[in-house]
Every structure is written in structure tokens, then in C-alpha cells.
């Protein structure tokens, strides 16, 4: 095992130790483990909320898009910033609803707001299934980072197994507190790592800002949002559907950080500054564009950042950067595993006693991470499923919006019909290889979703059937959800 591999293994173990130090302070069961008793203070909440901004996508994907599409990669800066605007209004409301009515998961919200256990079970099952490819993406990304940093496929597999085991342990042990601890390390580490890589790669490519003039000479289209494979439709539809999805918390694993905050005011206070975080994304974009001058044009997008780094930096430094990349994979992996397990144990196995559900919750974590690891090691191509994750979960947005008001005024049938229509459309477009140009499939699917939602709601109002029994915010409902 080379020096780089040793540094990475030690780094991954260190990440686990950091997460392991966050043991639950009291025996609060699922509430303590999943939402820390809803007492997470401001700065912990900040790092949990920021956790989704800097991920393996920031390391691998964004540099790749910068390499192929130039400044088109700033679409990520756009949608993550816009998501802050949506969350500024939505997150405090979700948190307050959850605190007063006892929600632990996204599916709890559906059960309570639409008075439908069936809807909550469907949301829980669909959410859990859609998150598995996303979990695999994190583990595969981690393996790729290690492989690129060490040049060893064996080290890649080993690191994926090691990181998966560590994620399982610190998530079961520390719950959301464990994830918060690692998030702090991850966020500082990633910014430092991105600065290191940027200095190394941009320096080798001619320095700052001269590098951009050189890029313009090599491929002027990279300075526009219209490089080959990128256009205005891609930009507008992709950003729109992502803003809708992230603003209205359609990813089930993102609910825990929101529900755990001590108050809605804390969330709002954090989110109003969180957009500043997105400025860090200019670093991997710059690295990707600079790499045009340094590495072969045939380089795969995900390999751009580390290929360029290896050409310009010593191995040990690349290894340290890889450790930060591993943390960027492990934090979302932990949050996703927690999201899957809570949906299954809290909303699918709801008939079991709480004590047994909490035990089974840990088993589900092991199964979910194990499945994702297996898919990753077998190099299963579940990329198509990942498209379903993004496009499919965005179809929940109309339902979440409908449930935010003080009274829920739409019928459960309308919600279900729109959801089914939207999700089926994404599935047909994805697996039927339906040509859709640059349009985002999730964006397209929102059209039948909303049309059917409107039609069924109109029928429901005309017939008076399917209305939710919304004696709005009754105390009984809270007890019912908690039970």
C-alpha cells in the first residue's frame, strides 16, 4: 500500500472517529436519534443545512461540467443559491409544523396534512427506493476519488467497504449528531481542499486570471452558456426543476436537519447567509476550465479534477484532498441512510411497537448501505434510476406546497393522481428513451402532474369526495402522528 493509500485509509478512519464522538446525550429513542430532540443549536444547524451544498458532485461532477461546458457549470451556483430563497420561507414553516405536530419524517407530514396513512406509506416506500441510487452515487464517488488519488482499483473497493462500515457505525451510534460532527470537518476540509487544488491546477495552467484568456483561445464557447451539449433550455428547465425540488424539500433525507433545528428563526437566520457558501463552487468550476489546457480532451468528466491535480501536485497532497472528498461522500451517505431507515421504520412498519421499530431502524441502515455498496462494487449501472431520483422526487413538490398552508384545501385524490402521473412520466421518459432534447425530464413531468392534479381536484370539489378531514392543526393529530 502506497503513501497516498495509507493517508486516505487513516483519514477515513479519522472521519469515523469524529462521527463516533457524538453519542446521544439522552435516551430519547427515535426523536433523539433522528432530530436530536429538536434542540439543535444555530451553528450545528448551519453545518447540517450546508451539508448538501458541498458534496462529491462539487469535487467530481462540477469540475467535469466546467471542463466540457465551461461557465455553464455555474448553473449549480444558481440553483443552490435559489434553493436558499425557497428554504428561507419553507423550512421554518416545516420545522414549526413538525414541532407542534410531532413529525419525524417527510411521510409523517403527508399522513397528517392529508389525513392519509396510505399516502404516507406510498411516499415512504417511493422515497426509500429512490434514495438507494443516490446512496450508491456517494459510495461510488468515494471509490472513484480514492482510485484516482491512488491509481489502485483495489484501494477503491477497500475504501468503499471501509467507508460504508464507518458510515453505518457512526450513524447508528450518533444519529444526526454524528452527521453534524462530520459535517463540520467536511465543510472546512472541502473548502481548504478546493483552494489547494485550485492553486495547484490554475498555477500550472498559467495563473489567475490569465488562465481564462488561454481557455478562450482553446475553446471560446467555454466562456458562454452555449458550449456543445449545453443550451438555454437545459439551463432553464434544469435549474427550475431543481429549485422547485430543493425549495420544497422533496428529498426525504433533507427533512431531519430542518426538523432538528431549535427554532424556525434559526433556520431562517442561517439560510439568509448560506448562499455565500455557493461562491466556493467557483473553485471546482475554475479547475475544470483550467484543466482544458492541461489534460487530454478525452478525459471523463468525473475524472477531470483528480487527473489535473495529479499532474500538478505531489501524491501526498492529492491524498489529503481525497480524504476531504471522502468526507464529502460520507456525510450525504449517512444522511441518506438515515432518511431511508426512518421512512421504513417509522412509516412503513408503523404497526410495530416503537422499541422494536427503533431496533429495526438500525437493521434497515445496514441493509440500505449494504445494498448500495453491493451495487457500487458490482459497478451496476443504476444511473437511469438516479434520473428517477431527481425527476421523480421533484414530483412531490405540488403535494408539499399544498400541505404548507394552515388548512389543507386540496383532496388526497388530487395529490395522489398528480404524483402518479408525474412519476410515471419520468419513468416512461427515462426507460422508454423518449427523445426530449435538452428539457429536464422532471420539468416535463411536472406538466401532467399539475394537469391531473387540477382535474381531479375540480372533480373532487364538484362531487365533494376525497376531501381531507382537516380539522386543521388539532392536538389529536399530533398525538396520532406520534403514536
Amino acid at each position: 500500500m502506497g503513501t497516498a493509500a495509507i493517508i486516505i485509509v487513516v483519514g477515513i478512519v479519522l472521519i469515523g472517529v469524529i462521527g463516533f464522538t457524538a453519542r446521544q446525550r439522552s435516551k430519547q429513542g427515535m426523536t433523539g436519534w433522528l432530530v436530536a430532540g429538536r434542540k439543535v443549536p444555530r451553528w450545528t444547524s448551519w453545518f447540517l443545512q450546508a451539508g448538501e451544498s458541498l458534496t462529491t458532485f462539487s469535487f467530481l461532477g462540477l469540475a467535469g461540467i466546467g471542463f466540457a461546458g465551461g461557465v455553464s457549470a455555474t448553473f449549480a451556483v444558481a440553483y443552490l443559491t435559489a434553493a436558499c430563497i425557497g428554504q428561507f420561507f419553507v423550512s421554518p414553516r416545516l420545522r414549526d409544523l413538525a414541532a407542534s405536530r410531532g413529525y419525524l419524517t417527510m411521510a409523517d407530514f403527508f399522513k397528517d396534512r392529508f389525513r392519509s396513512r396510505t399516502l404516507s406509506v406510498i411516499v415512504a416506500i417511493v422515497g426509500a427506493i429512490f434514495l438507494i441510487p443516490y446512496l450508491q452515487l456517494q459510495l461510488t464517488g468515494l471509490g472513484l476519488i480514492v482510485q484516482l488519488a491512488t491509481g489502485s482499483p483495489e484501494a477503491s473497493g477497500l475504501s468503499m467497504v471501509l467507508a460504508s462500515a464507518i458510515v453505518i457505525v457512526f450513524v447508528i451510534w450518533g444519529g444526526i449528531r454524528g452527521i453534524a460532527r462530520v459535517s463540520i470537518f467536511k465543510d472546512f476540509g472541502m473548502v481548504i481542499a478546493l483552494v489547494i487544488v485550485t492553486v495547484g491546477v490554475v498555477g500550472a495552467a498559467g495563473g489567475f486570471p490569465e488562465v481564462f484568456a488561454s481557455v478562450a483561445q482553446a475553446n471560446a464557447d467555454l466562456l458562454t452558456t452555449h458550449a456543445k451539449g449545453f443550451d438555454a433550455i437545459w439551463w432553464v428547465s434544469g435549474i427550475s426543476v431543481t429549485i422547485i425540488g430543493s425549495s420544497f424539500a422533496t428529498f426525504p433525507h433533507l427533512w431531519s436537519p430542518v426538523l432538528a433545528a431549535r427554532s424556525g428563526a434559526i433556520l431562517r437566520d442561517n439560510v439568509k447567509w448560506l448562499a455565500v457558501y455557493q461562491l466556493a463552487l467557483f473553485l471546482p468550476i475554475t479547475v475544470g476550465m483550467s484543466a482544458v489546457l492541461l489534460i487530454s480532451h478525452d478525459t471523463k468528466g468525473n475524472q477531470v479534477l483528480f487527473t489535473a491535480a495529479q499532474q500538478t501536485m505531489p501524491d501526498w497532497l492529492v491524498a489529503i484532498v481525497a480524504v476531504c472528498g471522502a468526507a464529502a461522500a460520507m456525510v450525504p451517505a449517512g444522511a441518506i441512510a438515515m432518511g431511508i431507515s426512518s421512512l421504513v421504520s417509522n412509516n412503513v412498519l408503523f404497526k410495530l411497537p416503537e422499541r422494536i421499530r427503533f431496533r429495526l431502524n438500525h437493521v434497515v441502515i445496514v441493509v440500505a448501505v449494504g445494498l448500495a455498496l453491493l451495487f457500487g462494487l458490482m459497478k451496476s449501472d443504476i444511473g437511469q434510476l438516479l434520473l428517477l431520483t431527481y425527476g421523480g422526487l421533484a414530483q412531490l413538490a405540488p403535494a408539499v406546497i399544498s400541505g404548507l398552508g394552515r388548512k389543507v384545501r386540496v383532496s388526497t385524490w388530487a395529490i395522489a393522481a398528480g404524483l402518479i402521473a408525474g412519476t410515471l412520466t419520468v419513468i416512461v421518459i427515462t426507460f422508454g428513451n423518449i427523445p426530449h432534447g435538452s428539457w429536464d425530464s422532471g420539468f416535463i413531468a411536472l406538466a401532467p402532474n399539475l394537469v391531473l392534479f387540477g382535474v381531479v381536484e375540480a372533480i373532487s370539489r364538484a362531487t365533494g369526495k376525497g376531501r381531507p378531514a382537516t380539522a386543521f392543526d388539532t392536538v389529536e393529530a399530533r398525538e396520532e402522528v406520534a403514536a
Binding site: 465551461g70 461557465v71 444558481a78 440553483y79 430563497i85 443550451d231 427550475s240 431562517r268 437566520d269
Partner: protein, 106 residues
């Protein structure tokens, strides 16, 4: 930005006799103000400097533009938050709309 709805007096619920204070945080004017950066993001690919290769001070113009939008977003959200805090200062409430725990039964 109209503050009229934010300062309305508590209204009793006729059905339940519960006093509810509907302190809306997400008012139309606030949402419209907050949407300015989103509109700026969405029109980006149609702007001249995003269509033609353009450098400002040696850096791609689109990067300057996006950085400006990020800063504008922070400024706008802080302005809105300040107006919310003024509202909270008046009423003493932090939630968008009060939940049962905060309600008083007449």
C-alpha cells in the same frame, strides 16, 4: 412593501372559539422581492455576455454575474429577515402561522 396584513389584530375562529393570529411571513410582496435573483438566474443564457465569449477584468462575465446574484440574494434575504424581525418584535411570534401550542382558547 405593505405591512398592513402583518399587523392585523388576532381573529377569533368562529367554529372553535380559538384565537388565531395569522402572522404571515411569506407575504406576496416579500416573495416577489425574493424572486428577483431567481429571475436573474433564469434569464442568464439569453444575456449578451452569456451568448458571446466575454471577459471582464480577465474573468468570464458569467462568473461575475452569478457572483453578483449570490451577493444580491444574501442582501435581499437579510432585508426581508429584518422586516420579519420587526414584525416579530411587534407581535412576539416567530412562526408563520400559530400552531395549537401557541393558541389561547377564549
Amino acid at each position: 412593501m405593505s405591512t398592513q396584513p402583518e399587523r392585523s389584530a388576532p381573529r377569533p375562529d368562529t367554529a372553535t372559539g380559538v384565537i388565531r393570529v395569522t402572522q404571515r411571513i411569506a407575504t406576496p410582496s416579500r416573495i416577489a422581492f425574493a424572486c428577483i435573483p431567481i429571475v436573474a438566474m433564469l434569464i442568464t443564457p439569453f444575456l449578451p455576455f452569456a451568448v458571446e465569449p466575454t471577459l471582464w477584468l480577465g474573468i468570464p462575465a458569467v462568473m461575475w454575474w452569478m457572483a453578483a446574484i449570490v451577493i444580491a440574494t444574501v442582501v435581499i434575504l437579510n432585508v426581508i429577515d429584518r422586516s420579519i424581525r420587526r414584525q416579530v418584535g411587534i407581535t412576539g411570534f416567530e412562526s408563520d402561522e400559530l400552531e395549537p401550542e401557541h393558541e389561547g382558547v377564549r
